[in-house]
Amino acid sequence: MSETMIEAQDLTRTFRSGFRRKRITAVENLNLAIQPGELFGLVGPDGAGKTTTLRMLAGILKPSSGQATVNGHDIVKGAEDIKQELGYMPQQFGLYPDLTVDENMNFVCDVFDVMGEERQTRMEELLDFTGLHDIRTRRGRNLSGGMQKKLGLAAALVHKPKLLLLDEPSTGVDPVARREFWDILTTLHAAGSTVVVSTPYMDEAERCNRVGLMYGGQMMICDSPSGIKRMLPGSVLALRADNLTLAEDVLKQVPDVLDVQPYGDVLNIISNDEAGASAIESRLTAAGVTVDSLRPTPPRMEEAFIYFVRQYASGDAAQAAASPTEVTA
């Protein structure tokens, strides 16, 4: 058995879709290696292929070509072995809305052969851990979005899986529940579990030890959050000014400005080092923008993510048009 928890080589999945059975590539030649104990974040815009990737790794979707192993098992031939050791949480609420928390948990325990006393202690533990203890007789459909996600996580954990695959576990959840959810994940990670989580939120990507950025079915960048931020060329300047709309238009004409990202009442400017803050400020003032402040700010995943996605979108606009992105749902 290999040391690596997940290893994918040239993993590709295409679908035929629509009336003309047009071929759509959801994941293309994906290469990936995830070590035991990692908290790995899969990020990317909608339709980047995150869900398809996770489904293939969970052994519930056959790749069109390429291969991958999970904990040493081939994802096609060893799919059932993977399922013994895996906790998988789909994007949609995967448990039964007409069953209570307890009934859902009991069913999952049955299926994973968690029996007798072990089941009792494990269920108590997980319901405490996820804070569902007081609502164990409530039906699935009457749980809030956040509680449903926690129930889904608790269900994925009954058999103490070696690997957790979580597909956007915090989408549609309020910020407090989201924070609680991530505290749980961090606890699991600290306890040595391998966790792969897909997310559209950059603050969550920031909490992972490594992040893979997917775009158009391909893995564009795979590095630690700080590594990714270092890959951002130039520096980030935060601009506060009276007319941000005008400022944005002006800045887009400046060759040294790589990207401009409005962010509330701040405009984040990614610029080449050569174009100093003073040069930019004078251009803005000349155009009639009153600059309140313009100072360097440490880049966040947010800026890096938007910058890279825009790069790919413009870089392979022609290619992107050929492979529509509305694949995962």
Partner: protein, 395 residues
Amino acid sequence: MNQRHVWAMARKEWLHMTRDPMTIFLLAIGPVLMLVLVAYSMATDVENVPTVIVDHDNSAVSTALEASLDDTVVLDVTGHADDQDDAESELERRDAKVIVIIEDGFEDQVTSLAGMNDMLTAGPRLRFIVDGTDPISAETAMEAVVEESERYITAQLQQTVDNEAENLDETTLAMYREQLENPVIIEAENRYNKDLKAVWDLVPALIAVVLVLPGMSISTVIARERSEGTLEALVATPISKHAILLGKTLPYVFVAMINVVLMYIVARLVFGVPFRGNLALYLALSSLYAFATLAVGLLFSILIRSIEAALWASMLFFLFPGMLLSGMFFPVEVFPFIVKLETLELPVVSGVLINRGMFLQGVGVRVLWWNILLLLVIAIEGFEIASRIFKKRIA
């Protein structure tokens, strides 16, 4: 296959059913309501009813009678039997629907005046037994056999009297001729359903027909998991696909058996239908029938991805052929060959025969083995194909 997983799945499915009071109400009571509501059957033209002859007389007259019975549109002499027991076993197997027994001395009765006197006092040496499980064809067949025999006997006697006319005095001849105006009365005995009550025949058949309802409702179970998004999580667990499918089927078999018991009680108490078979065997065969129907429903459930489409497909399969081709209204024998072939894969055809056979005829495995075998094949093959098609994947 892990037995605990099967039970876990069955328990879960049972919870789904009972969670929604309307579903369990409709599933458990619906078929009984249908049984009570459907009251009338349809009339059909009856032709070529298989008739078996037991000829103890072995005379020119008996042979001529057989020929004239065979000449009728309704009857078709398909064979001869050595004795009544032999003939009755043909009736049981449904190879024949009418038995004509010609006793020794029948020739005498119609060819001599002494015999004629004997016939008029002791009745003709001729008996009929008609299978009453299918009242429409039974009634027609009975009418035909009685009418044709009476016509034949009257014609024979006419000739006999004419032949003897010169040896008789005026008054005696007039008396004989007068007697010939009123034909001989022959009683036909009706087996299984003495009063030819249509309801006796209809109710057992209906029990089989309405049991397609659980089959229809199971056709949505996989589509429902798919549309609710729960299938994705389920197939990512180690539960085997056999356990998923069997676990999903068992609660429906249970509900079908509740239906059977309720309908049995209604048939006996409300409609007064007799039950002449072995009750334990009947329950066993009913669960086999339910399982076969459910296996077909399950197959639809796997093949068709949306709830609506699965429901429509199972309706088209179960409801219309299930009603019209079941043999409840039209005997299966009247269908063209190709349709007959199709009825082989309809569990309901065997279900109807088993129900009628056990309620009215009181027959057992010895007679019903072919239909039992068909149901076994449908149940096992249906389930096997279902589990081969079903993949523990999402696409």
